[in-house]
Protein backbone atom coordinates (compact mmCIF):
# COMPACT_ATOMS: atom_id res chain seq x y z
CA UNK A 1 0.00 0.00 0.00
CA UNK A 2 1.21 3.48 -0.79
CA UNK A 3 2.67 5.36 2.17
CA UNK A 4 2.75 9.12 2.15
CA UNK A 5 5.70 10.98 3.63
CA UNK A 6 5.35 14.73 3.93
CA UNK A 7 8.38 16.87 4.71
CA UNK A 8 7.82 20.45 5.85
CA UNK A 9 10.77 22.59 4.77
CA UNK A 10 13.15 22.34 1.82
CA UNK A 11 16.31 23.53 3.57
CA UNK A 12 19.29 21.46 4.65
CA UNK A 13 17.33 18.94 6.74
CA UNK A 14 14.27 18.58 4.53
CA UNK A 15 16.32 18.18 1.37
CA UNK A 16 18.79 15.63 2.64
CA UNK A 17 16.02 13.69 4.40
CA UNK A 18 13.95 13.56 1.20
CA UNK A 19 16.88 12.41 -0.92
CA UNK A 20 18.02 9.79 1.58
CA UNK A 21 14.47 8.47 1.98
CA UNK A 22 13.95 8.31 -1.78
CA UNK A 23 16.95 6.00 -2.02
CA UNK A 24 16.07 3.96 1.05
CA UNK A 25 12.39 3.32 0.34
CA UNK A 26 10.70 1.62 -2.57
CA UNK A 27 8.77 3.52 -5.22
CA UNK A 28 5.48 2.85 -3.46
CA UNK A 29 6.29 5.58 -0.96
CA UNK A 30 5.27 9.06 -2.02
CA UNK A 31 7.56 11.79 -0.76
CA UNK A 32 6.41 15.42 -0.82
CA UNK A 33 8.52 18.39 0.23
CA UNK A 34 6.70 21.63 1.04
CA UNK A 35 8.30 25.05 1.12
CA UNK A 36 6.97 28.55 0.67
CA UNK A 37 9.76 29.74 -1.66
CA UNK A 38 12.33 28.25 -4.02
CA UNK A 39 15.42 29.91 -2.53
CA UNK A 40 17.76 27.52 -0.81
CA UNK A 41 20.41 29.63 0.95
CA UNK A 42 23.83 28.19 1.76
CA UNK A 43 23.76 29.62 5.28
CA UNK A 44 27.41 28.98 6.22
CA UNK A 45 28.27 31.48 3.48
CA UNK A 46 26.43 34.36 5.17
CA UNK A 47 29.36 34.97 7.53
CA UNK A 48 31.61 35.90 4.59
CA UNK A 49 29.24 38.34 2.87
CA UNK A 50 29.82 41.34 5.19
CA UNK A 51 33.57 41.16 4.49
CA UNK A 52 33.20 40.97 0.73
CA UNK A 53 34.46 37.37 0.74
CA UNK A 54 31.21 35.97 -0.67
CA UNK A 55 28.41 37.43 -2.73
CA UNK A 56 24.75 36.95 -1.84
CA UNK A 57 23.82 35.71 -5.35
CA UNK A 58 26.35 32.88 -5.14
CA UNK A 59 24.78 31.47 -1.99
CA UNK A 60 21.29 30.82 -3.37
CA UNK A 61 20.08 27.92 -5.51
CA UNK A 62 16.70 26.43 -6.35
CA UNK A 63 15.24 24.27 -3.58
CA UNK A 64 13.37 22.15 -6.10
CA UNK A 65 16.49 21.32 -8.10
CA UNK A 66 18.25 19.86 -5.06
CA UNK A 67 15.58 17.13 -4.86
CA UNK A 68 16.02 13.80 -6.62
CA UNK A 69 13.60 12.45 -9.22
CA UNK A 70 10.53 10.87 -7.69
CA UNK A 71 10.13 13.53 -5.01
CA UNK A 72 7.20 15.93 -5.30
CA UNK A 73 7.85 19.58 -4.53
CA UNK A 74 4.92 21.67 -3.36
CA UNK A 75 5.48 25.43 -3.41
CA UNK A 76 3.25 26.74 -0.66
CA UNK A 77 3.47 28.09 2.85
CA UNK A 78 2.16 25.91 5.67
CA UNK A 79 -0.74 27.11 7.74
CA UNK A 80 -0.73 24.40 10.40
CA UNK A 81 -0.49 20.71 11.14
CA UNK A 82 -3.48 18.86 12.51
CA UNK A 83 -1.69 16.16 14.50
CA UNK A 84 -4.97 14.46 15.41
CA UNK A 85 -6.02 14.02 11.79
CA UNK A 86 -2.52 13.38 10.30
CA UNK A 87 -3.08 16.28 7.96
CA UNK A 88 -1.16 19.41 6.90
CA UNK A 89 -3.15 22.52 6.04
CA UNK A 90 -1.33 24.59 3.44
CA UNK A 91 -1.38 28.36 3.11
CA UNK A 92 -2.71 28.00 -0.45
CA UNK A 93 -5.82 26.29 0.92
CA UNK A 94 -4.82 22.73 0.01
CA UNK A 95 -4.30 19.87 2.43
CA UNK A 96 -1.85 16.98 2.53
CA UNK A 97 -2.57 13.80 4.45
CA UNK A 98 0.42 11.81 5.70
CA UNK A 99 1.51 8.51 7.16
CA UNK A 100 4.77 10.06 8.33
CA UNK A 101 5.44 13.77 8.81
CA UNK A 102 8.96 15.18 9.02
CA UNK A 103 9.35 18.67 10.47
CA UNK A 104 12.34 20.42 8.90
CA UNK A 105 11.16 24.00 9.24
CA UNK A 106 14.37 25.33 10.79
CA UNK A 107 14.70 28.34 13.03
CA UNK A 108 13.36 31.83 12.44
CA UNK A 109 14.96 35.15 13.34
CA UNK A 110 12.77 37.18 15.69
CA UNK A 111 14.41 40.63 16.00
CA UNK A 112 11.03 42.18 16.95
CA UNK A 113 11.18 40.33 20.27
CA UNK A 114 13.96 42.60 21.57
CA UNK A 115 12.93 46.15 22.51
CA UNK A 116 14.27 48.72 20.08
CA UNK A 117 16.20 46.28 17.89
CA UNK A 118 14.14 46.98 14.77
CA UNK A 119 13.61 50.63 15.78
CA UNK A 120 15.82 53.65 15.00
CA UNK A 121 19.18 52.64 13.55
CA UNK A 122 18.04 49.18 12.35
CA UNK A 123 19.84 48.44 9.09
CA UNK A 124 21.78 51.73 9.30
CA UNK A 125 23.92 51.22 12.41
CA UNK A 126 22.40 48.04 13.82
CA UNK A 127 22.59 44.91 11.64
CA UNK A 128 22.25 41.17 11.70
CA UNK A 129 24.25 39.00 9.28
CA UNK A 130 21.99 35.97 9.77
CA UNK A 131 20.03 36.54 6.58
CA UNK A 132 20.94 37.64 3.05
CA UNK A 133 19.43 41.09 3.36
CA UNK A 134 21.20 41.87 6.63
CA UNK A 135 24.53 40.41 5.55
CA UNK A 136 24.45 42.40 2.30
CA UNK A 137 23.51 45.67 4.01
CA UNK A 138 26.23 45.09 6.60
CA UNK A 139 28.83 44.66 3.83
CA UNK A 140 28.08 48.22 2.69
CA UNK A 141 28.16 49.58 6.24
CA UNK A 142 31.50 47.93 6.98
CA UNK A 143 32.98 49.36 3.81
CA UNK A 144 32.03 52.85 4.97
CA UNK A 145 33.11 52.28 8.57
CA UNK A 146 36.42 54.02 9.14
CA UNK A 147 36.78 53.84 12.89
CA UNK A 148 34.86 53.63 16.16
CA UNK A 149 33.25 51.05 18.40
CA UNK A 150 32.02 47.87 16.72
CA UNK A 151 30.01 45.64 19.03
CA UNK A 152 28.95 42.06 18.27
CA UNK A 153 26.06 40.90 20.45
CA UNK A 154 24.22 37.62 20.90
CA UNK A 155 20.88 38.43 22.51
CA UNK A 156 19.93 34.96 23.72
CA UNK A 157 20.38 31.28 22.92
CA UNK A 158 19.55 29.08 21.13
CA UNK A 159 20.90 30.51 17.87
CA UNK A 160 21.97 28.92 14.63
CA UNK A 161 25.69 28.20 14.47
CA UNK A 162 26.68 29.49 17.93
CA UNK A 163 30.31 29.95 16.81
CA UNK A 164 29.40 32.32 13.95
CA UNK A 165 29.35 35.50 16.11
CA UNK A 166 32.86 34.67 17.35
CA UNK A 167 33.98 34.03 13.78
CA UNK A 168 32.55 37.41 12.88
CA UNK A 169 34.77 39.03 15.56
CA UNK A 170 37.88 37.23 14.29
CA UNK A 171 37.16 38.16 10.68
CA UNK A 172 36.45 41.78 11.66
CA UNK A 173 39.86 41.94 13.33
CA UNK A 174 41.45 40.61 10.11
CA UNK A 175 39.32 42.87 7.88
CA UNK A 176 40.28 46.10 9.65
CA UNK A 177 43.95 45.10 9.72
CA UNK A 178 43.80 44.50 5.97
CA UNK A 179 42.36 47.98 5.58
CA UNK A 180 45.07 49.41 7.82
CA UNK A 181 42.64 50.93 10.33
CA UNK A 182 42.56 48.29 13.07
CA UNK A 183 44.01 50.81 15.56
CA UNK A 184 41.00 53.07 14.98
CA UNK A 185 38.43 50.31 15.68
CA UNK A 186 37.51 48.86 19.06
CA UNK A 187 35.94 45.41 18.90
CA UNK A 188 33.73 44.05 21.69
CA UNK A 189 31.94 40.69 21.93
CA UNK A 190 28.88 40.82 24.20
CA UNK A 191 27.32 37.50 25.20
CA UNK A 192 24.70 36.24 27.67
CA UNK A 193 26.98 33.28 28.48
CA UNK A 194 29.48 33.34 31.33
CA UNK A 195 32.34 32.79 28.87
CA UNK A 196 33.21 32.97 25.18
CA UNK A 197 31.44 29.66 24.48
CA UNK A 198 29.31 27.05 26.22
CA UNK A 199 31.77 24.20 26.62
CA UNK A 200 34.66 24.76 29.09
CA UNK A 201 37.74 23.63 27.11
CA UNK A 202 36.66 25.37 23.89
CA UNK A 203 35.48 28.41 25.86
CA UNK A 204 38.95 28.90 27.34
CA UNK A 205 40.65 28.47 23.96
CA UNK A 206 38.30 30.91 22.22
CA UNK A 207 38.53 33.48 25.05
CA UNK A 208 42.31 33.32 24.65
CA UNK A 209 41.98 34.02 20.93
CA UNK A 210 39.71 37.00 21.57
CA UNK A 211 42.29 38.38 23.99
CA UNK A 212 45.19 37.80 21.57
CA UNK A 213 43.31 39.68 18.88
CA UNK A 214 42.48 42.59 21.19
CA UNK A 215 38.74 41.90 21.23
CA UNK A 216 37.03 42.78 24.50
CA UNK A 217 34.74 40.14 26.00
CA UNK A 218 31.63 41.16 27.97
CA UNK A 219 29.85 38.19 29.58
CA UNK A 220 26.51 37.52 31.30
CA UNK A 221 24.97 40.42 29.42
CA UNK A 222 21.27 39.79 28.83
CA UNK A 223 20.24 42.36 26.26
CA UNK A 224 16.89 43.90 27.20
CA UNK A 225 16.98 46.81 24.78
CA UNK A 226 18.92 48.03 21.76
CA UNK A 227 18.90 51.81 21.47
CA UNK A 228 20.11 52.47 17.96
CA UNK A 229 19.53 56.21 18.23
CA UNK A 230 21.77 56.65 21.26
CA UNK A 231 24.05 53.80 20.15
CA UNK A 232 23.88 51.52 23.16
CA UNK A 233 22.91 48.04 24.26
CA UNK A 234 21.09 47.96 27.60
CA UNK A 235 20.89 44.77 29.66
CA UNK A 236 18.00 43.72 31.88
CA UNK A 237 20.16 44.46 34.91
CA UNK A 238 20.79 47.96 33.50
CA UNK A 239 24.36 47.69 32.29
CA UNK A 240 25.18 49.53 29.05
CA UNK A 241 27.56 48.93 26.17
CA UNK A 242 28.01 51.81 23.73
CA UNK A 243 28.55 51.33 20.01
CA UNK A 244 28.93 53.15 16.70
CA UNK A 245 28.06 50.00 14.76
CA UNK A 246 26.30 46.98 16.25
CA UNK A 247 26.07 43.49 14.80
CA UNK A 248 23.29 41.78 16.71
CA UNK A 249 22.26 38.15 16.44
CA UNK A 250 18.52 38.31 17.17
CA UNK A 251 16.71 35.71 19.24
CA UNK A 252 15.47 32.68 17.30
CA UNK A 253 12.16 30.91 17.40
CA UNK A 254 10.66 27.98 15.56
CA UNK A 255 8.56 28.31 12.41
CA UNK A 256 5.25 30.12 12.71
CA UNK A 257 3.41 27.10 11.30
CA UNK A 258 4.71 25.09 14.27
CA UNK A 259 3.41 27.73 16.67
CA UNK A 260 0.02 27.55 14.93
CA UNK A 261 -0.13 23.76 15.27
CA UNK A 262 -1.71 22.67 18.50
CA UNK A 263 0.55 20.47 20.62
CA UNK A 264 3.49 20.43 18.21
CA UNK A 265 5.93 23.04 19.52
CA UNK A 266 7.33 24.26 22.84
CA UNK A 267 7.17 27.83 24.19
CA UNK A 268 9.73 28.98 21.59
CA UNK A 269 8.14 27.10 18.68
CA UNK A 270 10.69 24.28 18.51
CA UNK A 271 9.48 20.69 18.37
CA UNK A 272 10.30 18.51 21.40
CA UNK A 273 11.73 15.19 20.25
CA UNK A 274 13.67 12.22 21.55
CA UNK A 275 17.33 13.23 21.31
CA UNK A 276 18.47 9.79 20.14
CA UNK A 277 15.67 8.66 17.78
CA UNK A 278 14.51 12.12 16.53
CA UNK A 279 10.88 11.13 16.92
CA UNK A 280 8.65 13.93 18.17
CA UNK A 281 7.11 13.66 21.61
CA UNK A 282 3.65 14.62 20.33
CA UNK A 283 2.92 11.76 17.90
CA UNK A 284 4.73 8.58 16.96
CA UNK A 285 4.44 9.28 13.21
CA UNK A 286 6.03 12.73 13.43
CA UNK A 287 9.83 13.09 13.24
CA UNK A 288 12.05 16.18 13.43
CA UNK A 289 15.37 17.07 11.82
CA UNK A 290 17.69 20.05 12.08
CA UNK A 291 17.16 23.42 13.73
CA UNK A 292 13.41 22.83 14.19
CA UNK A 293 14.07 20.23 16.89
CA UNK A 294 14.09 21.07 20.60
CA UNK A 295 16.96 18.74 21.48
CA UNK A 296 20.19 19.64 23.29
CA UNK A 297 22.43 20.02 20.23
CA UNK A 298 23.80 23.07 18.47
CA UNK A 299 21.60 24.36 15.69
CA UNK A 300 24.06 23.63 12.91
CA UNK A 301 24.20 22.08 9.45
CA UNK A 302 26.63 19.40 10.59
CA UNK A 303 24.17 18.22 13.24
CA UNK A 304 21.43 18.10 10.62
CA UNK A 305 23.67 16.09 8.31
CA UNK A 306 24.57 13.59 11.03
CA UNK A 307 20.90 13.30 12.04
CA UNK A 308 20.00 12.36 8.47
CA UNK A 309 21.23 8.81 8.75
CA UNK A 310 19.31 7.98 11.96
CA UNK A 311 16.20 9.82 10.80
CA UNK A 312 16.04 7.94 7.51
CA UNK A 313 16.54 4.60 9.22
CA UNK A 314 13.86 5.38 11.80
CA UNK A 315 11.26 6.49 9.27
CA UNK A 316 11.83 3.23 7.37
CA UNK A 317 11.65 1.20 10.58
CA UNK A 318 8.50 2.97 11.72
CA UNK A 319 6.82 2.23 8.38
CA UNK A 320 7.87 -1.42 8.69
CA UNK A 321 6.53 -1.59 12.26
CA UNK A 322 10.00 -2.14 13.71
CA UNK A 323 11.66 -0.69 16.78
CA UNK A 324 13.48 2.63 16.32
CA UNK A 325 17.25 3.03 16.34
CA UNK A 326 18.26 5.27 19.25
CA UNK A 327 21.78 5.95 18.05
CA UNK A 328 21.99 9.68 17.34
CA UNK A 329 24.77 10.88 19.65
CA UNK A 330 24.51 14.64 19.21
CA UNK A 331 27.55 14.73 16.91
CA UNK A 332 28.51 18.28 15.92
CA UNK A 333 31.43 19.42 13.78
CA UNK A 334 32.20 23.09 13.18
CA UNK A 335 34.92 24.96 11.39
CA UNK A 336 35.63 28.25 13.17
CA UNK A 337 37.07 30.81 10.77
CA UNK A 338 39.71 32.83 12.61
CA UNK A 339 40.93 35.25 9.95
CA UNK A 340 44.20 35.45 7.98
CA UNK A 341 43.33 32.32 6.00
CA UNK A 342 43.12 30.09 9.03
CA UNK A 343 40.41 28.25 10.92
CA UNK A 344 39.85 25.97 13.90
CA UNK A 345 37.83 22.79 13.91
CA UNK A 346 35.75 21.54 16.84
CA UNK A 347 34.06 18.14 17.06
CA UNK A 348 31.79 17.03 19.91
CA UNK A 349 28.58 15.27 20.94
CA UNK A 350 26.11 14.99 23.84
CA UNK A 351 28.72 13.45 26.14
CA UNK A 352 32.08 14.74 24.90
CA UNK A 353 32.92 18.43 24.81
CA UNK A 354 35.17 19.86 22.07
CA UNK A 355 38.71 18.67 22.83
CA UNK A 356 42.11 19.23 21.20
CA UNK A 357 43.65 16.51 19.02
CA UNK A 358 43.00 15.58 15.41
CA UNK A 359 39.92 14.72 13.32
CA UNK A 360 38.75 12.14 12.37
CA UNK A 361 41.72 10.20 13.82
CA UNK A 362 45.30 10.82 14.94
CA UNK A 363 46.09 11.70 11.32
CA UNK A 364 43.73 14.42 10.21
CA UNK A 365 42.68 18.01 10.70
CA UNK A 366 43.91 19.68 13.88
CA UNK A 367 41.18 20.17 16.50
CA UNK A 368 40.77 23.33 18.56
CA UNK A 369 43.87 24.85 16.95
CA UNK A 370 44.27 27.38 14.15
CA UNK A 371 45.47 26.01 10.83
CA UNK A 372 45.41 26.80 7.14
CA UNK A 373 44.15 23.27 6.44
CA UNK A 374 40.96 23.90 8.42
CA UNK A 375 40.35 27.09 6.45
CA UNK A 376 40.63 25.12 3.21
CA UNK A 377 38.28 22.56 4.72
CA UNK A 378 35.74 25.28 5.39
CA UNK A 379 36.00 26.60 1.82
CA UNK A 380 35.72 23.13 0.32
CA UNK A 381 32.66 22.48 2.41
CA UNK A 382 30.51 24.69 0.18
CA UNK A 383 31.05 22.28 -2.73
CA UNK A 384 30.43 19.25 -0.54
CA UNK A 385 27.21 20.84 0.74
CA UNK A 386 25.58 21.06 -2.69
CA UNK A 387 27.10 17.91 -4.19
CA UNK A 388 27.30 15.43 -1.31
CA UNK A 389 25.45 16.55 1.78
CA UNK A 390 22.14 17.65 0.21
CA UNK A 391 21.98 14.65 -2.15
CA UNK A 392 22.18 12.61 1.05
CA UNK A 393 25.52 10.93 0.49
CA UNK A 394 27.88 10.11 3.33
CA UNK A 395 30.95 12.33 3.24
CA UNK A 396 34.24 10.43 2.80
CA UNK A 397 35.90 9.80 6.17
CA UNK A 398 33.08 11.51 8.08
CA UNK A 399 30.86 9.22 10.14
CA UNK A 400 27.55 10.14 11.76
CA UNK A 401 28.80 8.96 15.15
CA UNK A 402 31.48 11.12 16.74
CA UNK A 403 34.96 9.58 16.38
CA UNK A 404 36.91 9.13 19.61
CA UNK A 405 40.30 8.37 18.05
CA UNK A 406 42.50 11.43 17.78
CA UNK A 407 40.93 13.35 20.68
CA UNK A 408 43.03 14.23 23.72
CA UNK A 409 40.74 13.41 26.63
CA UNK A 410 43.24 14.34 29.34
CA UNK A 411 42.69 17.97 28.39
CA UNK A 412 39.49 17.98 30.40
Amino acid sequence: MTKRIVILGGGTGGTLAANRLRRALDAECEITVVDRDDDHVYQPGLLFVPFGLAHADDLVRSRRRQLHDGITYRGSGVDRVDVEADRVHLADGGTLGYDVLIIATGARLVPEETDGLTGPGWMSKVFSFYDLEGATALARALEEFDGGRLVVNVVDLPIKCPVAPLEFCFLADWYFQERGIRDRVSLTYVTPLDGAFTKPVASRALAGMLQDKGIELVTEFNTGEVDGGAGKLISYDEREVEFDLAVVVPVHGGAECVERSWGLGDALGFVPADEHTLRSKVRENIFVIGDAAAIPTSKAGSVTHFEGEVLTRNVARFLAGEELDASFDGHTNCFIESGFGKALLIDFNYDTEPLPGHYPSAVGLPLLAESRLNHLGKLMFSWLYWHSLLPGRDLPGVSAAMPVAGKRFEAR
Binding site: L157, P158, P162, T198, N222, G224, D237, L268, P296, T332
Partner: protein, 105 residues
Protein backbone atom coordinates in the same frame (compact mmCIF):
# COMPACT_ATOMS: atom_id res chain seq x y z
CA UNK B 1 28.28 17.86 47.07
CA UNK B 2 27.28 19.26 50.45
CA UNK B 3 24.15 19.58 52.57
CA UNK B 4 22.08 22.52 53.78
CA UNK B 5 19.41 22.85 56.43
CA UNK B 6 16.23 24.53 55.27
CA UNK B 7 13.10 24.70 57.43
CA UNK B 8 14.75 22.33 59.89
CA UNK B 9 15.43 19.61 57.30
CA UNK B 10 18.87 18.63 56.03
CA UNK B 11 18.99 18.32 52.21
CA UNK B 12 21.86 17.53 49.81
CA UNK B 13 22.71 20.34 47.35
CA UNK B 14 25.30 20.61 44.58
CA UNK B 15 28.28 22.99 44.42
CA UNK B 16 26.08 25.81 43.14
CA UNK B 17 23.40 25.29 45.79
CA UNK B 18 20.83 23.52 43.59
CA UNK B 19 18.76 20.70 45.11
CA UNK B 20 20.01 17.26 44.16
CA UNK B 21 16.63 15.70 44.92
CA UNK B 22 13.76 18.05 43.97
CA UNK B 23 11.29 15.80 45.84
CA UNK B 24 12.84 16.92 49.15
CA UNK B 25 11.80 20.52 48.58
CA UNK B 26 8.81 22.03 50.34
CA UNK B 27 7.29 25.50 50.13
CA UNK B 28 8.39 26.49 53.63
CA UNK B 29 12.03 26.10 52.55
CA UNK B 30 11.76 28.69 49.76
CA UNK B 31 11.95 31.87 51.91
CA UNK B 32 15.20 30.65 53.50
CA UNK B 33 16.78 29.74 50.15
CA UNK B 34 15.68 33.11 48.76
CA UNK B 35 17.30 35.04 51.60
CA UNK B 36 20.49 33.05 51.16
CA UNK B 37 20.46 33.78 47.41
CA UNK B 38 20.06 37.51 48.04
CA UNK B 39 16.52 37.72 46.71
CA UNK B 40 14.94 38.96 49.95
CA UNK B 41 11.29 38.51 50.96
CA UNK B 42 9.14 36.54 48.56
CA UNK B 43 6.08 38.32 47.17
CA UNK B 44 3.06 36.82 45.39
CA UNK B 45 4.83 37.56 42.08
CA UNK B 46 7.86 35.57 43.19
CA UNK B 47 5.58 32.71 44.16
CA UNK B 48 3.85 32.77 40.80
CA UNK B 49 7.22 32.13 39.17
CA UNK B 50 8.36 29.56 41.72
CA UNK B 51 5.15 27.51 41.41
CA UNK B 52 5.35 27.76 37.63
CA UNK B 53 8.93 26.46 37.72
CA UNK B 54 7.86 23.51 39.85
CA UNK B 55 5.00 22.67 37.49
CA UNK B 56 7.21 22.93 34.39
CA UNK B 57 9.84 20.75 35.98
CA UNK B 58 7.26 18.14 36.99
CA UNK B 59 5.92 18.06 33.45
CA UNK B 60 9.12 18.30 31.39
CA UNK B 61 11.97 17.27 33.64
CA UNK B 62 13.83 20.52 33.16
CA UNK B 63 13.26 24.12 34.24
CA UNK B 64 12.41 26.73 31.60
CA UNK B 65 14.84 29.36 30.31
CA UNK B 66 14.25 33.05 31.00
CA UNK B 67 12.78 33.58 27.56
CA UNK B 68 10.39 30.66 27.89
CA UNK B 69 9.44 31.91 31.38
CA UNK B 70 8.68 35.35 29.93
CA UNK B 71 6.39 33.80 27.34
CA UNK B 72 4.55 31.33 29.53
CA UNK B 73 4.66 32.24 33.23
CA UNK B 74 2.55 35.38 33.04
CA UNK B 75 5.52 37.45 34.27
CA UNK B 76 7.47 39.48 31.67
CA UNK B 77 11.22 39.06 31.24
CA UNK B 78 11.71 42.61 32.52
CA UNK B 79 9.81 41.87 35.72
CA UNK B 80 11.59 38.53 36.10
CA UNK B 81 14.87 40.44 36.30
CA UNK B 82 13.37 42.75 38.92
CA UNK B 83 12.15 39.80 40.99
CA UNK B 84 15.23 37.65 40.58
CA UNK B 85 18.11 40.01 39.72
CA UNK B 86 21.04 38.81 37.55
CA UNK B 87 19.75 35.39 36.52
CA UNK B 88 16.01 34.78 36.88
CA UNK B 89 15.95 31.24 35.49
CA UNK B 90 18.85 30.12 37.64
CA UNK B 91 17.77 31.88 40.83
CA UNK B 92 14.13 30.87 40.57
CA UNK B 93 15.16 27.28 39.88
CA UNK B 94 17.37 27.26 42.95
CA UNK B 95 14.64 28.70 45.17
CA UNK B 96 12.11 26.26 43.66
CA UNK B 97 14.39 23.33 44.53
CA UNK B 98 14.82 22.10 40.96
CA UNK B 99 18.06 21.54 38.97
CA UNK B 100 19.77 24.38 37.14
CA UNK B 101 18.03 24.80 33.76
CA UNK B 102 19.97 23.01 31.03
CA UNK B 103 21.96 25.61 29.13
CA UNK B 104 21.74 25.89 25.40
CA UNK B 105 24.67 24.99 23.20
Amino acid sequence: MSTKVYAGTEVPVNDEGFFVEPGQWSEDMAPEIAREAGVGDLTDRHWQVIRFMRAEFAEKGTGPTVRALGKTSGVSVKELYQLFPKGPAKLAARIAGIPKPRGCI
